[in-house]
Every structure is written in C-alpha cells, then in structure tokens.
C-alpha cells in the first residue's frame, strides 16, 4: 500500500544575501490514511517550511532544492502551479497557527466558505451554503446559520480557529497539514479542537500532519512522531516507543526537560546551549556541541539508521537501543 503522503529527502533552501539557509535539509516521512504524524521540534527547526513545501507555498528566495513529495504516488514538487492549485484546499489543506492566514477579515464567513466550495466543485450556491453550515456544525460552532452571517472579528480566537478548520474540511481532503493550530489557544478550547481533529481522521480517513512544539499534544494525538532538529528529522517512529525509549540524545533531552518528567521542585533536566544558526551549522552531527554522548566519530555526519524495526535515529551513539542491534 502506498502511503497517502510520502516526503522523500526533501530539501527546501532559502538563497538569502547572508547565505544559503538550509531550512529543510533531507527530510523524509510518510503518513497513511486515517493516521496522525506528529512533527515536533523547537522554533526554527524547519517544521513550518516543511508544511509550506508540501502545500507548494514556498516563495522566493526559497525553493525546493531536492527530493520528492509523493501524494498518492504523484510527485507534488514537479506539478505546475495550476495543477497544484487544483489540489490545494481541495485534496490537501493546511491549518495555520494564525487562523487569519485562512480567513479574509473583510468578508463574511458564508461568502468565504461558499467561494471555497465553488472553487473546486460545480455546485449551486444553496448547496455550497448547506455544506458550509454542516462544516461549522461539525467543528462544534453553535447556531451555524447565524454564524455564517458574521465577520471574522466577531469571533473569539478559538472560534476563528474552528472556522479555519471547518474551511479546511469543506472538501474532506485526503491530507491536512496543521501547523501549531492550538498553540495560541487556551487548554479547554484546545481540547475541543483536538477532539475535532481526532474525529476527522477516524471518520473521513484524512491523513494528518500535526506540527507542534508540544510533546504532550503529540503524545495524546499522534500515531507516529518525527523529531526535527536544525532542518533534519533526527528521530522517528511510533509515538509510544519514541516517547518511552527515545534513541536520539536530542529527543532524550527534550522529553527530559518536560516538567512532569521531573520530580516536583527539583531542578529540571535541561539541554545545555542553544540551537545553532542554520547559516553556520557545525559539520558532522549538528547536535554535537550540546550532546552529552558526543565522541570524535560524531564529527562525521551520522546517517539515519533503523535501530529497531520502524524506528529510526540520526545518531551513531543512541540511547535505549535493544541489545542485539547496538
């Protein structure tokens, strides 16, 4: 079975005056129908650029410099802008951290939603309105008829995000890329949105890439996890296995610094130093300077290795590897 979406050795670089920013530099992963991949990493690690690359939204000075983005086996990176436009918002949709990236502040919600429906399907206005109403109901917006006649500024942040999600749902896409959609929201509202996302995968079989820096959200939501560091995936595998027995020292450090993983009141385990500048990445393993397990061999770039079935890490000296493989 081919995955719904497969990203293979994706490279997206920004050719700036200060030099080439290798924001995404050899990223690979796959998501199946009805599954959620949690893409985690700290700010600047390349999560958003990965999402934009999938959507074909990378603008100059950036461009996809290599690799493949296979949507049901078809390479998106090789499509024309017109072909991509036919897929975007239709078969592949994105939910942004800021819902106003999706919403137009001067248009009523019904206008925006009806336009979106009619952009990809020949349906009557009335039918499109019905679809919009259903989508709003689906994301838990009360009195959808009344809400359709409102403008975005008349909604709270959480409701705006739900409208943006409803718009992403209009065509029951095969793939949704969600870029930190709940980061700015309160926990009780975040819970509502995560519940919607779960339902969506289950009911419509959408494959989802959920981008976040919050490991706890990924723990509750995702099937698989890919951890990014400085433009690369450094570890990936099933969520339970990665969170319970991480291989890569960076993953170990990230999990260790979550407060609930520490004894109350004791100093938190912390990763020393900070993320390197993408313009000036160290040779070899880019985590080397912060890594407690670094050794001279780490000055060579470590390959992505499968240390146990379905579990990969880009490290020559991983933790928690089962005896046989190590």
């Amino acid at each position: 079975m081919t995955a719904t979406l497969e990203v293979r050795d994706l490279k997206t670089h920004f050719f700036t005056r200060a030099g080439v920013v290798r924001a995404v530099d050899g990223v690979s992963f796959a998501v199946d129908r009805g599954k959620v991949l949690g893409l985690v990493g700290e700010s600047g690690s390349g999560k958003t650029v990965t999402g934009f690359s999938i959507m074909g939204l990378v603008d100059p000075p950036g461009r996809i410099a290599g690799g493949k983005i296979l949507f049901k086996g078809r390479d998106l990176a090789s499509l024309s802008e017109e072909e991509m436009r036919a897929l975007r918002g239709n078969r592949i949709a994105m939910i942004f951290q800021d819902p106003m990236m999706t919403l137009n502040p001067v248009l009523r919600i019904d206008t925006q939603m009806i336009e979106t429906v009619q952009a990809h399907e020949r349906v009557s206005r009335e039918e499109a309105r019905q679809r919009a109403r259903d989508a709003l109901g689906q994301v838990g917006i009360p009195s959808p008829d009344e809400r359709l006649r409102s403008y975005p500024h008349q909604f709270s942040g959480g409701m705006r995000q739900r409208v943006a999600i409803a718009i992403a749902l209009l065509h029951k896409p095969d793939v949704i890329v969600a870029d930190e959609p709940t980061t700015a929201l309160d926990v009780t509202i975040q819970g509502q949105i995560l519940a919607e996302a779960q339902k969506l995968c289950r009911v419509t079989g959408t494959a989802m890439i959920w981008i976040t820096h919050d490991l706890s959200v990924v723990a509750g939501l995702a099937d698989d996890i890919a951890v990014m560091y400085a433009g690369r995936v450094v570890e990936q595998g099933p969520v339970d296995e990665v969170l319970d027995a991480p291989f890569h020292p960076y993953t170990v450090g990230l999990i260790g610094s979550v407060p609930s993983r520490n004894r109350r009141g004791e100093p938190l385990r912390q990763i020393p130093g900070m993320t390197p500048s993408l313009l000036d990445l160290p040779a070899g393993c880019t985590f080397r300077a912060r890594c407690p397990r670094a050794e001279p061999r780490c000055a060579e770039p470590p390959p992505m290795a499968e240390y146990s079935p379905g579990r990969f890490a880009r490290c020559i000296h991983p933790y928690n590897v089962p005896e046989m493989a190590a």
Partner: protein
C-alpha cells in the same frame, strides 16, 4: 528548595506573616466609546460605556518565601492582578497590604521601597527591553537612578547581576537584538535583580521559550529563590510548569479566584468543577492516544459575565443556585479553598 517547600506546606494552616495581602481587590477598566457612540450618547441615545471587570473581589495572601502559581485562561485577569501586586496598577476597590501596610498609605521613601522590592518579569522579553540601550545600560540604569550603587561601582555591580542571571558579562556592550529569546529573558531577570527585590511577579515569563530553554530559565528562577530568599507570584497558563515549581496554586476564572490550595492538593484533589475540567484537558506526555473532549462552550466575555457563578454555563453540575448567587471562596480542607455551591450541598 525542598526544605522551603516543606516549611511552607507545613505552614498551610498558620502561614508565616504575609508579605503581600490582597483584600477584596477589584480592577475595572472602561472600554472607551468610539466617536460614533459618543455622538449618539450626546444626542441622548442610551449608550453606556462598557465596563470590564478584569479582577473582581480577590482575596489572596502570599507568605514570605512562598511560590504562588496563578493559573487561568486568557483574559481571566492574571496580568491585571499581577500588575496590581507589583504596584504598577492601582486597584479600583479593595486594599493591597505590603508587609502589613496598605500600599495607598505609603509615601516618599516607603512607597519607593515597596515599588523596588517587588519587580515584574514579562513574557516578551524583547518588547520589555529598550532596543537602543546596551545590556549594561539596561541592567545598570535603575540601580544608578535609585542610588543603590555608586557610579564607580556600577561596572562590577552590573557584571554580578548578569552572572547571576546566567549571562556572560563579556556581552555587556551588546544590544538586545543580538541575543536569543532565552538570553533576552535573562537580561530581563538581571535588570529586575539589579534593584534588589525580594518579590518577583513573573507574568508568563517562560511562555515564549522553547522547552529546552524554558527548563534553563525555570531552573534559574528556582536557584535565585534559594540564593536570594525570593517570594514569587508565578503567572502561567501552563499547568505543568506551575505544578513543578509552586508551593501553592491559585486558579482564576473570569476575574475571580475559584480555588486555591497547596500545589499537590490541587493536582490530586481539585475541588472546583472548573479546575477539574482544566486539569482533565491538559495534555500530558504520559497519556497516549487519548480521547480529547474539550470543555463545552466558550470562555464568556468579561464585558458581560454570566450572573451567579461565572462558570455555570459551562459547568456539568450547575444547579439553580449557581445561576443567581455568587459562590464565596470557602475552606474545603486545610489550606484549601474553593468557590462552588456544590460544597454546601451535603
């Protein structure tokens, strides 16, 4: 640290003399009318200015050396409360007692001391630092102005504050934009420490930082607490962070305190339905593939809060009384208070 925790937790019943005490503190803001509304009002239309009850009748007492975590959702009044505690915003009603003395009654040197002793650390370190000043000036300005240090001692003094906050004094001539987010927060901390406070109000001080950097800054706060015997009001929407470092936790909803208790008690035996809902929605790294549910309904607007218990429209247990009568904050266990009518029911 653990010694201090035990001391305070043990003192749950008879806390040490409070350094800060809030009695029935409220703060209202009026949302000014726009021009059209003003004209309409002039012409006799029944247009009223909108009043936000940002903080509504809060009692709170903070003992010396205590770390009090203040939690609640966006707009519930945490920052407003924090600013009043820090003495940079006067309450509309009620009294704030600093070391037993009403802040309003202080003047001259006393008022100045009260202000310096309580310092505030903000979420966005960048917005709170003057981009045109070098770090040494940012950190050294206030202690110079207030005569805490003489000019010829300033340089070593600034170096000491920077080191304490975990910044290399070699960076003293750099500007804020030349630092990372975590380092900028350290600059904010060094600036606050430079006036020798004994009380820090931290308003979402780690919210903008990545987890690995957040851990570094939280560790710094805990180290400073030990070294300088600081008291903290630690405002955060992140319950994991609050659980980790607070002795006591105060939960706010729409301007009011709904529950307050020692940290472990809140996380083990939350009493208020809002606290329970909040805790059940917090994603935890230990909980896998859970079914999310969400608390039904929206957070109501503080412009027009529901009558009675503010939480009643979203509360699964609400009954008639909740819709009309404001529940008082009452003891439910040692050192544990909650404002919910259900507690009167048995």
């Amino acid at each position: 640290m653990s010694a201090a925790v035990q001391e305070v937790a043990g003192a749950g019943l008879a806390p040490r003399a409070p350094v800060m005490e809030l009695r029935g503190v409220s703060r209202r803001f009026s949302r000014g009318l726009d021009l059209a509304a003003k004209v309409a009002q002039r012409l006799g239309a029944p247009v009223k200015e909108e009043i936000v009850h940002a903080v509504d009748g809060v009692d709170l007492s903070i003992a010396k050396g205590e770390v009090v975590g203040l939690v609640g959702e966006s707009g519930c009044g945490k920052s407003t409360l924090g600013r009043m505690v820090a003495g940079i915003l006067p309450p509309s009603d009620g009294a704030i007692l600093w070391r037993g003395r009403d802040l309003r009654s202080l003047n001259g040197a006393d008022a100045r001391e009260a202000k310096l002793r309580t310092q505030m650390i903000f979420q966005d370190p960048y917005a709170s630092l003057n981009p045109r000043l070098k770090v040494a000036e940012i950190v050294g300005e206030a202690p110079m102005v207030h005569g805490i240090v003489r000019r010829r001692d300033l340089e070593p003094y600034v170096d000491e504050q920077m080191r304490r906050a975990g910044l290399d004094p070699a960076f003293r001539r750099r500007y804020p934009h030349q630092f990372s987010g975590g380092q900028r927060q350290r600059i904010g901390i060094a600036r606050a420490l430079a006036v020798q406070p004994d009380f820090l109000v931290c308003d979402e001080a780690v919210a903008a930082l990545d987890v690995s950097i957040q851990a570094q800054i939280l560790n710094l706060f805990m180290k400073l607490r030990r070294e300088l015997d600081l008291t903290y009001l630690f405002i955060s929407h992140d319950l994991g962070v609050v659980e980790h470092l607070s002795d006591r936790v105060v939960i706010m909803y729409l301007g009011r305190v709904v529950e307050a208790a020692p940290a472990e008690e809140v996380f083990r035996r939350a009493n208020h339905p809002y606290t329970q809902a909040l805790l059940s929605e917090v994603p935890r790294i230990e909980t896998r593939k859970r079914a999310f549910a969400g608390v039904k309904g929206e957070i109501p607007s503080p412009l027009n809060p529901p009558p009675g218990c503010h939480f009643h429209p979203r509360c699964p247990h609400a009954f008639d009384r909740c819709r009309v009568e404001r529940p008082a904050l009452k003891p439910v266990a040692a050192g544990h208070t909650s404002a919910c009518h259900l507690n009167d029911r048995t």
